[in-house]
C-alpha cells in the first residue's frame, strides 16, 4: 500500500512543483512590495467574516450587540491571526526584523545619553582592534607578494654552537648548493650595497641590490619595461647591466622609455640600463626602498669576494619544488653541509645549513610584540562589551513591564530574544560603523608613528580583509553584549512584572549578580593590561637609562663612500680619510673629530673570527669571534671611551709600522682572564687581510654597539691607517649646531672631490633614539590601551554602583529612618565597591602574572613577576575603583529618608 501513496504524493509534487515555486515567489514579492495594501486587505477580509457571522447570528435572533460580541469572541484574537497569516505568506521574519530595527532606532533616539556612551564605547573598541589588526595583517598574515610565496625559503648558515646568528653564504659555496641539490627548483643570492650615481644631477648614493642572475625569475617577477637579467649577465667579463626600480625610474629619469639601452654611471662605471621592475617588488630588505639591481659580478666590493670560499655574506633564497616536503629539503641541506665540511674543512667546519620560510625570516621577532598588541586591544574590546552589556542590563530592568506586555500579547520567548538581538544589531551597526571610521584615522596615525624597522609596516591599510574583520567584530560584539540582557528579559515572570510598581524595591538577584560579575571581570581585565603596560614602561625606562659606553651629546656623524673604480687601493683610501680628517679638525669648533667604521649603534656591526697567537687554532666546537671596528687615533677620546690598560691607538700606527690593535674589556675578560693581554697578538682582519697578526697595545671600556638592550660584546679595534676601508664615517664632537657641522663636512669633502656625496648625516642622540623606536612604540601603544582599560573599568564600576544606589533608595531611606548615620550609609556603599574591586583584583592578579610571562624577551631589566609593579598597579586600580564608587556613594549619603519612603 505504502508505495502507492508515496507515488501519488510525488506525482502531485512533480506536476505542481513548478507552479508552486513560482506562486511562492510571486506571493513573497507581493507581500514585500505591497505591504500596506496587503495589510489593509487582510483587515478588510477578516472584518467581512466577522460581520457576516454577526449577521447570521442576528438572523437567528440574537441581539445586535450580543451578536457582534459573540462573533468577535468566537473568531479569536485578530492580531495573532493576522500574524499567522502574514507568516503563512512568507518573509515574515523580514517584516519582524524591520519592525525591530525601527523600534530599536526609536529607543536609541529617546535615550541620547545612553546611545552616545554605548556607541562611543563600541566604536573605540572596534576601531582600535581594526587598526591593530590592519598592522598585524600587513606584517604577519598577508602572504608575500610573490608567486607561490609559500615555496620560498631563506637558506642560511649557522654555527653549530651559536645558533642565534643566521648568516649568509660565500659565493662558491652557494654555487655548490645551487647546482648540487635536488629539492629547489631555483636558487638565487642577494646582497645590498650603496653605490654613487653620477651624471644625472647631483651625485647621489643609491641603495643597490646586488643579485645573481636567476633572482627575478625565482620571484616570478615581470618587468614593466625592457627585460630582466639573463644568465650571461652574471658571467665575469660580461658588459655591466642594471635594472631600475620603478620609483627611481619615475623620479630621476622621468619615466623615459629611452633610458633603456643607455648607460648610467655607478661608482664611475658605466652600466647599461636593460629594464625596469614595478615599484611593488621589494627584496631583500622589505623596509628600504629598492632602487637598483645589478649582477653580483659587477659589484665593486662583493664582486671581488666571489672567488673566495670563506665568508658568509650572500643571502640565499630558494624555491622549493612543488611536492617536496620540508623534512626532505632539510635532510638534503644537512647532506650538503657535510659534503662541504669534508671537501673544504678550513672554511666550513662547524657550519650547518638550514632553511626557514621567507615570510618568517622577514618578519623576524616582531611576532611577539604584534600579537601582544592584538591581545591587549582584544581585552579592551571585551571590556567595552562588558560595559555595554551592563548598560543594557540596566535598561532591561526598566523594560520588564514592556516585555511582560509583549509576552501577554502572544510573543514567544524566541520572538522576544530576537527582538532584543535586533535592537542590539542597530547599536552594533552604529558603533561598528563609527569604529571603522575611527580605524581609518587610527591606521593613518599608526603608520605615521610606526618605527621604520617594522617590516612591511607601512603596507598597513584598511583594505577588504581588514574591513571584513571590523564588520565581523562588530557583529560578534553585538551578540556578545546583547545576549545577556536578552536572556534575562525572556525569563521574566509575566504576572509579577505586570503587577509590580516600577521596581523600586529591588530587582531580580540574577540580573544584579550578572552586572556585578561583569564589573568585577572588567577590573580583572584592566589589571592584566595595566600590569603589562607597567612592566613595559619600567623596561623602557631601564633601557633609556642604559649607559651605551660612549658619549652621545653634541655628536654628529656623517658618511662618505669612495667609489672603488676611482679609489682603487688601500693607500688611496687611507690617504683620503686622513686628509679629510685633518681638514675637518682644522675647522673652528670641530677639532674633536675621528673616523670609525662601523660606528656603534649607527651602522650594522661586523663580526669576525680571530685567533690568539700562541694558542691552538679554534676547533669546530669553539666560537672565537668579536665585533670589529677600524678607527683613527682620536676615536676613543672623541667618543669618551675610557682607557683601562696600555695605550690608545696613536698617530704612529701607520701602514708602514707594526700592526697593532686595541681590545675591549669583555674580550680581555673572556679570553685573557688570568693574563695580561698587553703584548699578546691577535690574528684577525677585514677580508682580505684575514689572518694579520696584531699586537694588543691597550684595553678600553665596553660599548653597546649592537643594541642598547644587548650586553656589550667582545670588540677589537684596528687602526684605520693600517686597515683602511672604502668608506669613512666621521664622528665629530662639537658644540656648534648640527647643521653647521654638516655643512662644514660637506664643504671639506667637496673641496677634495666634487662628485662625492655626504650621506647619513645625523646626531648620535637621534641615532640612539631611533634604536629604541620599537620598544618606545609598543610601550606607548600598550600604555594607551591600559589607560582605555582603566577608564572602562572605572565607568563600569561607577555604573554598577550608581544603579545599585538608585535601586536601593528605599532601603537606604528605611535604614536612615531607623537611625543609620550618613557615614554608615557611605561605608555600606563603599564596602560594596570594595568587594567588587577586590574580587576583580583577586582574579586579575594571577591572569596578569600569566600574561606577563608571555612577554618574554620584550622585558628588559625587570622580571615578569616584578612585585613593585604589581603592588603599584593594584593599589592604583583599587584607588580608582573606590573613587568610581565614591561618587554614587555620596549620592546615597544625601538621600532624604522622607522623600525615599514616600516615593512609589
Amino acid at each position: 500500500m505504502e508505495p502507492e501513496f508515496a507515488a501519488a504524493r510525488t506525482e502531485v509534487r512533480a506536476t505542481g512543483g513548478g507552479v508552486r515555486v513560482w506562486s511562492g515567489v510571486k506571493s513573497r514579492i507581493r507581500s514585500l512590495a505591497e505591504r500596506e495594501s496587503v495589510e489593509r486587505e487582510m483587515d478588510e477580509e477578516l472584518r467581512f467574516h466577522v460581520e457576516r457571522y454577526a449577521e447570521d447570528l442576528l438572523r437567528r435572533g440574537v441581539g445586535r450587540e450580543e451578536a457582534m460580541r459573540r462573533a468577535r469572541v468566537e473568531f479569536g484574537g485578530v492580531e495573532k491571526l493576522k500574524e499567522e497569516c502574514r507568516e503563512a505568506s512568507g518573509w515574515q521574519w523580514m517584516e519582524e526584523l524591520a519592525q525591530d530595527i525601527r523600534y530599536g532606532l526609536r529607543m536609541l533616539r529617546k535615550n541620547p545619553g545612553f546611545t552616545a556612551v554605548a556607541v562611543l564605547t563600541l566604536a573605540l573598541g572596534v576601531g582600535a582592534n581594526t587598526a591593530i589588526f590592519s598592522v598585524v595583517y600587513a606584517v604577519l598574515l598577508k602572504p608575500l607578494p610573490y608567486a607561490h610565496a609559500e615555496q620560498l625559503f631563506n637558506v642560511f648558515q649557522e654555527q653549530a654552537q651559536d645558533s642565534s646568528a643566521k648568516t649568509g653564504w660565500s659565493y662558491l659555496n652557494f654555487e655548490e648548493l645551487r647546482t648540487g641539490n635536488g629539492v629547489f627548483s631555483a636558487m638565487a643570492g642577494a646582497q645590498q650595497h650603496q653605490l654613487t650615481l653620477t651624471g644625472h644631477g647631483e651625485p647621489a648614493v643609491i641603495n643597490t641590490s646586488v643579485v645573481t642572475p636567476e633572482f627575478f625569475s625565482l620571484f616570478g617577477e615581470k618587468p614593466i619595461a625592457g627585460r630582466l637579467f639573463f644568465d650571461e649577465d652574471g658571467k665575469s667579463g660580461a658588459p655591466p647591466v642594471v635594472i631600475l626600480g620603478e620609483n627611481l625610474w619615475r623620479g630621476l629619469f622621468g619615466a623615459d622609455e629611452k633610458i633603456i639601452g643607455s648607460a648610467i654611471n655607478l661608482d664611475k662605471v658605466a652600466f647599461t640600463v636593460v629594464g625596469v621592475v614595478p615599484a611593488k617588488f621589494r627584496f631583500p630588505q622589505m623596509t628600504e626602498s629598492q632602487q637598483l639591481w645589478i649582477p653580483l659580478v659587477h659589484d665593486p666590493l662583493f664582486g671581488s669576494w666571489m672567488a673566495r670560499r670563506g665568508g658568509h655574506w650572500l643571502q640565499v633564497t630558494g624555491r622549493l619544488k612543488p611536492g617536496v616536503s620540508v623534512t626532505r629539503a632539510n635532510a638534503e641541506l644537512e647532506a650538503i653541509s657535510r659534503r662541504l665540511t669534508a671537501e673544504f674543512p678550513a672554511e666550513n667546519s662547524g657550519w650547518m645549513s638550514r632553511m626557514i620560510p621567507l615570510q618568517q625570516m622577514i618578519v623576524g621577532n616582531v611576532k611577539t610584540a604584534l600579537l601582544l598588541m592584538l591581545g591587549a586591544v582584544g581585552l579592551v574590546l571585551l571590556m567595552a562589551c562588558a560595559n555595554i552589556a551592563n548598560l543594557l542590563l540596566t535598561r532591561a530592568t526598566s523594560r520588564t513591564r514592556e516585555m511582560a506586555v509583549r509576552t501577554a500579547m502572544g510573543a514567544g520567548r524566541g520572538r522576544i530574544v530576537r527582538q532584543l538581538l535586533s535592537e542590539n544589531l542597530v547599536l552594533g551597526i552604529l558603533g561598528g560603523g563609527a569604529g571603522i571610521i575611527l580605524a581609518y584615522a587610527g591606521v593613518r596615525a599608526l603608520t605615521a608613528f610606526m618605527p621604520a624597522s617594522l617590516p612591511m609596516g607601512n603596507e598597513a591599510r584598511v583594505d577588504a580583509v581588514v574591513l571584513g574583520f571590523g564588520l565581523l567584530l562588530s557583529a560578534v560584539a553585538s551578540c556578545a553584549f546583547g545576549l545577556a540582557p536578552a536572556l534575562f528579559a525572556a525569563k521574566a515572570n509575566v504576572n509579577e512584572s505586570l503587577r509590580e510598581g516600577d521596581g523600586r524595591s529591588g530587582e531580580s538577584g540574577g540580573r544584579r549578580r550578572a552586572r556585578s560579575v561583569l564589573a568585577a571581570a572588567e577590573v580583572a581585565l584592566a589589571m592584566v593590561l595595566l600590569v603589562v603596560a607597567g612592566l613595559l614602561l619600567r623596561s623602557f625606562s631601564k633601557l633609556l637609562a642604559v649607559d651605551p659606553g660612549f658619549a652621545v651629546q653634541n655628536m654628529v656623524k656623517a658618511e662618505v663612500y669612495l667609489p672603488r673604480t676611482q679609489y682603487a687601493t688601500p693607500e688611496r683610501w687611507s690617504a683620503f680619510s686622513s686628509e679629510l680628517l685633518t681638514r675637518i679638525q682644522a675647522e673652528p669648533g670641530m677639532k674633536n673629530a675621528a673616523v670609525a667604521v662601523p660606528l656603534p649603534l649607527a651602522d650594522g656591526f661586523v663580526n669576525l673570527g680571530f685567533e690568539i697567537e700562541g694558542t691552538p687554532p679554534k676547533t669546530a666546537a669553539e666560537s672565537r669571534t668579536a665585533n670589529y671596528v677600524a678607527v683613527s687615533p682620536e676615536y676613543f677620546q672623541v667618543m669618551g671611551i675610557p682607557l683601562l690598560a696600555g695605550r690608545f691607538i696613536d698617530a704612529h700606527d701607520v701602514m708602514a709600522s707594526a700592526r697593532v690593535s686595541v681590545i675591549s674589556k669583555t674580550l680581555a675578560r673572556t679570553y685573557f682572564a688570568n693574563q695580561d693581554p698587553i703584548g699578546k697578538r691577535l690574528l684577525f682582519g677585514f677580508p682580505p687581510d684575514g689572518g694579520e697578526a696584531r699586537e694588543i697595545v691597550g684595553v678600553v671600556g665596553d660599548v653597546r654597539d649592537v643594541a642598547l638592550e644587548q650586553e656589550p660584546r667582545a670588540m677589537m679595534y684596528a687602526p684605520f691607517a693600517q686597515a683602511p676601508l672604502t668608506g669613512a664615517v666621521m664622528i665629530v664632537k662639537s658644540s656648534l649646531s648640527a647643521s653647521s657641522v654638516a655643512a662644514a663636512i660637506r664643504r671639506d669633502v667637496q673641496a677634495m672631490d666634487k662628485d662625492l656625496p655626504v650621506t647619513e648625516i645625523a646626531q648620535m642622540a637621534d641615532v640612539l633614539r631611533r634604536s629604541v623606536a620599537q620598544p618606545k612604540f609598543r610601550t606607548f601603544l600598550l600604555g594607551l590601551f591600559a589607560a582605555m582599560a582603566l577608564v572602562l573599568a572605572a565607568t563600569g564600576i561607577f555604573g554598577v554602583i550608581s544603579y545599585s544606589v538608585s535601586r536601593r533608595t528605599r532601603e537606604i531611606g528605611v535604614r536612615m529612618a531607623l537611625g543609620a548615620s550618613r557615614r554608615e550609609i557611605l561605608g555600606m556603599i563603599l564596602q560594596e565597591t570594595l568587594l567588587l574591586a577586590a574580587t576583580g583584583l583577586a582574579v586579575g592578579i594571577p591572569c596578569a602574572l600569566g600574561a606577563a610571562r608571555l612577554l618574554g624577551h620584550l622585558l628588559f631589566g625587570v622580571s615578569a613577576g616584578d612585585p613593585a609593579t604589581l603592588v603599584a598597579v593594584g593599589s592604583a586600580l583599587a584607588g580608582v575603583a573606590l573613587l568610581a564608587g565614591y561618587l554614587p556613594a555620596r549620592r546615597a549619603m544625601r538621600v532624604d529618608p522622607m522623600v525615599a519612603l514616600r516615593y512609589e
Binding site: 501519488a8 502531485v12 507552479v19
Partner: protein, 113 residues
Amino acid sequence: MSEKTDVLQGTLDMLILKAASLGPLHGYGILLRIQQISKDRLEIQQGSLYPALYRLEHGGWIRSEWGESENNRRAKYYSLTAAGKKRLQAETEKWSRMADVIAGILSAKAGEV
C-alpha cells in the same frame, strides 16, 4: 446534535480545496460550505481557516480575487487552480483507497486471516 470531530491541518486543507472546487467562495462562505457538506458533523475553528487559506494561496493551490458579495460589500473570493484540482483529485483517491484498506481490515472475519 451529531458528534463533532476535530479536524487536523492536512484534512482542513483538503476540505478547503473541496469547498472551493464547487465554485468561488469567500472565507466565510467556505466555512459555511464545509459545515454544509459535512452535514454539520465537522467543527472548524473560525480563526484557523484564514492562516490555512493564506498558506494554500502561497503554495499555489488556490487563487484569490476581490469581488462583490451578495450584499454589495467587497470580499475576497477563492477558487481552485489547476494544481489545486490535481491535488484534490489525488487526495480524494488516496482517502478512498485508505478507506478501502481500513474497511477491509476491520471487516476481516476470523476465518479469512
